[in-house]
């Protein structure tokens, strides 16, 4: 159980590293959104599940953390979509392969 917790938190951190690099390296707003939307959700969820595995806690507390995960699963893609839509409507310029 402990081992699982350590693994999950470390994996979550690695995924968050991937998100960060994606956020910094990707060329335009739309592609950055891909990195942020996916990596953010998964890394947070993984670290939270890792906390459940790692720390001895009561069942109710574990369910509360599962509730947080649930809300992140609903909220994060929605926020991603809202920002994507806003950027698109406001006219963020997409990156094209031949533009460089």
């Amino acid at each position: 159980m402990h081992f699982l917790g350590y693994t999950l938190i470390s994996t979550g951190l690695v995924f968050f590293l991937g998100t960060t690099i994606g956020l910094l390296r990707f060329p335009d707003f739309y592609t950055r959104m891909h990195a942020a939307g996916k990596g953010d959700t998964l890394s947070t969820v993984m670290i939270l599940i890792g906390c459940i595995c790692l720390v001895p806690m009561s069942l109710l507390l574990a369910i509360k953390i599962l509730l947080i995960i649930n809300f992140i699963f609903i909220g994060s893609p929605t926020a991603t979509h809202a920002m994507m839509d806003a950027g698109n409507k406001a006219g963020a310029t997409p990156w094209r392969k031949d533009s460089k």
């Binding site: 402990h2 956020l23 707003f29 809300f71 929605t78 926020a79 809202a82 920002m83 839509d85």
Partner: protein
């Protein structure tokens, strides 16, 4: 375990610093918004870490739950701003010529 959590937390804050680069660089407001959204989600994780280190998880879980519920309101409000007013001009961040 506490050492591991502390290390993980420090790594998380370090990665948040990297994300901050995106918030500083922009170039548009929506890019900053993406970065801030990621940082907000990671605050939930850091709150839980602080709770584990203090040994009082049940108190910090409530704050994290509140964050999980409220975190995406800002993104949605800001996106709604750009969905209604279609103006997204890249602005210069560091005291350069202000956008008229």
């Amino acid at each position: 375990m506490n050492t591991f959590i502390t290390t993980a937390g420090v790594a998380l804050i370090g990665l948040m610093l990297l994300v901050l680069i995106r918030a500083i660089k922009g170039p548009t407001v929506i890019d900053r918004l993406v970065a801030i959204n990621v940082i907000g989600t990671k605050s939930i994780v850091l709150l839980l870490f602080a709770g584990i280190l203090f040994g009082q998880l049940e108190m910090f879980v409530d704050i994290a739950l509140g964050y999980g519920l409220l975190n995406y309101i800002v993104s949605i409000a800001a996106s709604r701003y750009y969905q209604h007013r279609k103006s997204l001009e890249p602005e210069h961040s560091h005291g350069g010529s202000p956008v008229s």
